[in-house]
Symmetry: C2
Subunit: 215 residues, 2 copies
């Protein structure tokens, strides 16, 4: 059998984005210039072109998220998996902090005491940080609902929400509610999403900033 | 606005699987009894019913993987993200070890020297473990191709392959080749997959064993 040509990761990535661009064009999909880089990276991560139609951005969302990252906002994820997927080199170069409170002992205890999820409680810990927070939710609709209630009750307001939890129960409703707030967002309508998607959006934002700085 | 009823994670999961079962039935899809639990968990993780048609099992794959896990096989993932997604409580209860070599300094150095990917080199480190290895590949087709070459050249044979890399370049080809070997597998045909899918398959296997043991 023929040997498959050896490609370096950068080459694989370049060709992948060429294929994605070509197939978006075949489908007659034109992405907004500021959103294109992010939506394409999500498709690259999922091989799922549905995201081209469901990934939804509030007005000037990308510009807002980039400014927040440059001004020292912290990314807080709802899973250690999403945190593991964010490029540590890019974070370091941009001096951006990324955290996840899911493994925190306090979170487990409070969740048990209150009969709620650890993800919901972890958003409360995010609210106590003394800097603007970009909440990146790739798994738990309960985290998104906890944020929604904090915003509605005036207890806290995250600076930005990446809302891409995945699933069948409360997921679509949680996303719809978050889109009714005045918090800027990137949200995937519908059931789909995931920790890899949350991480891909964070990485696309970070890579965009690095590209601007280096290019 | 109405308050969304508060649900505990177990309740959300139970309802999610009910919805998945109902929608599979609507689609006229009947899963093999031994594969059902695993395919449903992958759909639960992705909200993507495509997996019901593309997730492919070698003969007696689930039985084989379960036996390997009980007999002390080690799971090796191709990303720290997949490793982060495997349930640590379930691993501990079953005394199963899970590892990832991607952050290993040797891996980075060898990949640079040889002009290949870290994922490919990390499979070589897996081959040096002194126990049977279940390779769980959720990201890098190059890891799957590295395994294929080791098998073909008789250098090493993983005990089992979970082959669900995602992407546009070499991914489908790498999966097809792996399915031609005699190594037992769970592979997702086509472009789709990901670290969350690799972790979901590992977790489904672990949960199945725990369920059998506990009752």
């Amino acid at each position: 059998m023929d040997r498959i040509e050896r490609l370096l990761p950068e080459e694989i990535e370049r060709r992948s984005f060429e294929i994605i661009s070509a197939e978006l064009e075949e489908r007659g999909i034109v992405l907004a210039p500021d959103q294109e880089r992010i939506t394409k990276r999500v498709i690259h991560t999922s091989a799922d072109f549905d995201y081209a139609r469901t990934l939804t951005y509030s007005a000037h969302a990308v510009e807002t998220a980039e400014r927040l990252l440059l001004e020292g906002a912290c990314i807080v994820t709802d899973t250690n998996m999403a945190l593991a997927g964010i490029n540590k080199g890019a974070l370091a170069k941009l001096q951006v902090e990324a955290r996840c409170f899911m493994a925190d002992q306090t979170v487990a205890r409070l969740a048990r005491e209150r009969g709620t999820t650890r993800a919901a409680v972890s958003m409360e810990l995010a609210s106590r940080l003394d800097k603007p927070v970009i909440c990146a939710i790739g798994n738990a609709p309960t985290a998104l609902l906890a944020l929604y209630e904090m915003i509605r009750e005036g207890r806290w307001r995250p600076a930005f929400v990446i809302g891409v939890p995945v699933g069948f129960v409360h997921v679509e409703e949680a996303k719809r509610r978050m889109m009714e707030t005045d918090v800027p967002y990137i949200i995937n309508r519908g059931r789909k999403g995931g920790s890899t998607i949350a991480a891909a959006i964070c990485n696309a934002l970070l890579y965009g900033l690095l590209q601007k700085r280096e290019g």
